[in-house]
């Protein structure tokens, strides 16, 4: 079955309802279907993929569904990368049709001569299609570069069946009311951006794309566009909370549902957000690129109980909730043996929405269909899943496994600390030592000794960083994940530099 069936169903069910509005364009579900079908007819026969290099706009769902319609893979790239980084990512996907923002397509078209298209050309009135979506597409529906926070990025291949299975297990056709609107601020090269386009189209919720995020713009758009639903990565929510606190005169949008995911949410940020949006339902979504977005979620009910002061629910704010229908989640040891509740180990996931391969041909799944996530975690007796961090990020100090998350949360509880990243550095005595990169709030000053004293008082000496470095910003992926391997390299260089000067 072709992924584009989600759009043909929505067009059959909803017709003239507004599907997307942004940049002065307003497309109904029927317009969107017609434009996607038309785009499909323009794709060169030799193209196996549509490389998309631009912000999320009204053109994005046209290219996504249009590529699927023609049986080509939709391959969105991080268009903000410098040209010399972007071009090899694009050429790895040849032969492909390029769809790019105006300032990007010259150089990309040179690298990929099979075709190029300014995204504005996609959004033009089209006749009712005479072509049907390709019936049994053989290529993947979506190709996505993984985040690559701890290793080189890979291209995950998601099949039409994977993505359809995710949508059909989690969303009802046309379930959204006519007044509902979703502000989509995550880029299309993030799985959450793809999932937002697919699920909002299928639910019948008008999409308002936000090409470039700022907290103030987001708050204004949410108010002006009467946004009811939004998804945010933690760094975005942190900035919105900060902006709303600094500008109490800015009206707070009357959101119904705010979902978040993509990286670990610091508890202090979440607690502030719950206070700031008292009428809003919160949803924490956990998923990977390889799992077609969400596999577990912490529900609005869980958040509500925590906001009301329920102790168990408050603790569970640190979890990612429970597996969604059609998904199994287990914790296993290094030998792959399933562990009992509350035991810490490697998280693995199985279900029909989980993509099975990478573009280089390597398999993502074991023989038994399980995907090892690379995350460490545990599951409580009620099925709540706790993600403790990437396996590669665990600091092993004196034989003890320490996950950076707990130390980062402790650091963030200091009123002068805005952001932090904790990594392990080689240490002669302990095997590894704990090192923290800290970003202070504007105008504040702290000494390394004061930072260490704060952590020591909060979670104890054993988990107190040996090295504290003050930095102006943390290196991050566009989805708000800290690039720990870069933090580690920089801190290591600094520690070695200091040792040399002694």
């Amino acid at each position: 079955m072709n992924l584009a069936v989600l759009l043909t169903m929505a067009a059959d069910a909803l017709g003239d309802r507004g599907a997307i509005s942004g940049g002065g364009h307003h497309l109904s579900y029927r317009d969107l279907r017609d434009a996607a079908a038309d785009f499909a007819t323009t794709l060169p026969v030799e193209a196996s993929a549509v490389v998309y290099a631009g912000p999320i706009t009204a053109a994005t769902p046209i290219a996504l569904f249009g590529a699927a319609w023609a049986g080509c893979s939709f391959a969105p790239l991080n268009y903000r990368l410098p040209q010399d980084a972007l071009i090899p990512l694009a050429t790895a996907l040849a032969p492909a049709q390029v769809v790019a923002a105006a300032d990007r397509f010259e150089s990309l078209a040179e690298a990929l001569p099979s075709g190029r298209l300014d995204e504005d050309l996609l959004i033009a009135p089209c006749a009712v299609p005479t072509n049907d979506p390709v019936e049994a597409p053989s290529r993947p529906a979506v190709l996505l570069y993984t985040s690559g926070t701890s290793a080189a990025p890979k291209v995950a291949a998601l099949g039409h069946d994977n993505l359809l299975s995710y949508i059909w297990n989690t969303v009802e056709l046309a379930a959204a009311g006519e007044e509902e609107a979703a502000l989509v601020a995550v880029p299309s090269f993030h799985i959450a951006g793809i999932a937002a386009l697919l699920s909002n189209v299928y639910a019948g919720r008008r999409i308002v794309p936000m090409a470039s995020f700022s907290a103030e713009r987001w708050l204004r758009s949410a108010r002006d566009e009467k946004i009811t639903h939004a998804f945010l990565v933690p760094t975005m929510l942190a900035r919105i909370v900060e902006c709303a606190q600094a500008h109490p005169e800015l009206e707070r949008p009357d959101l119904r549902v705010l979902s978040y995911g993509g990286a670990r949410m610091p508890l202090p940020v979440l607690e502030a957000a719950l206070q700031l949006f008292p009428m809003t339902s919160f949803v924490n979504a956990y998923g990977l690129t390889e799992t077609s977005s969400t596999v577990a979620l912490l529900s609005p009910e869980d958040h509500r109980r925590a906001r009301d002061g329920d102790d168990v629910a408050r603790r569970r704010l640190g979890s990612v909730g429970r597996a969604i229908p059609g998904i199994e989640i287990e914790v296993v040891d290094d030998a792959g043996v399933a562990l009992a509740h509350e035991s810490e180990g490697r998280l693995r996931i199985r279900g029909s929405q989980v993509g099975g391969t990478y573009l280089d041909g390597t398999a993502a799944l074991g023989d038994d269909g399980w995907l090892l996530t690379g995350d460490r975690g545990r599951i409580d007796p009620d099925g709540y899943v706790w993600v403790l961090g990437r396996e590669d990020d665990v600091v092993i100090r004196g034989g003890e496994n320490i996950t950076p998350a707990e130390i980062e949360d402790a650091l963030l509880r200091h009123p002068d600390i805005a952001q932090s990243a904790v990594v392990g550095l080689p240490d002669v005595q302990w095997g590894e030592q704990i090192a923290a990169a800290v970003v202070l709030r504007g105008g504040r000053a702290l000494s390394a000794h004061e930072v260490r004293a704060h952590v020591q008082a909060t979670i104890g000496t054993f988990k107190t960083p040996t090295t504290v470095a003050f930095v102006t910003e943390l290196p991050m992926t566009p989805s708000g994940k800290v690039l720990r391997r870069v933090v580690r390299e920089r801190l290591l260089a600094q520690v070695i530099g200091e040792a040399d000067r002694r």
């Binding site: 169903m9 059909w168 297990n169 989690t170 937002a196 979902s259 979504a285 979620l297 609005p300 969604i324």
Partner: protein, 47 residues
């Protein structure tokens, strides 16, 4: 009998599931029995 767009049907006998992607008339049968409609899921929007 009209089959409703976006509705799921299932067979009591073999658990086969079916999604209606194009509305149409007729009766969906499996193992010689009309298939039953599966109730809609209520999952909060997560993206």
């Amino acid at each position: 009998m009209t089959n409703l767009l976006g509705k799921r049907y299932t067979c009591d006998e073999c658990d086969a599931q079916l999604m209606v992607v194009k509305a149409g008339d007729g009766t969906l049968t499996c193992h010689g029995q009309p298939m039953g409609e599966v109730a809609a899921k209520q999952l909060p929007s997560s993206d």
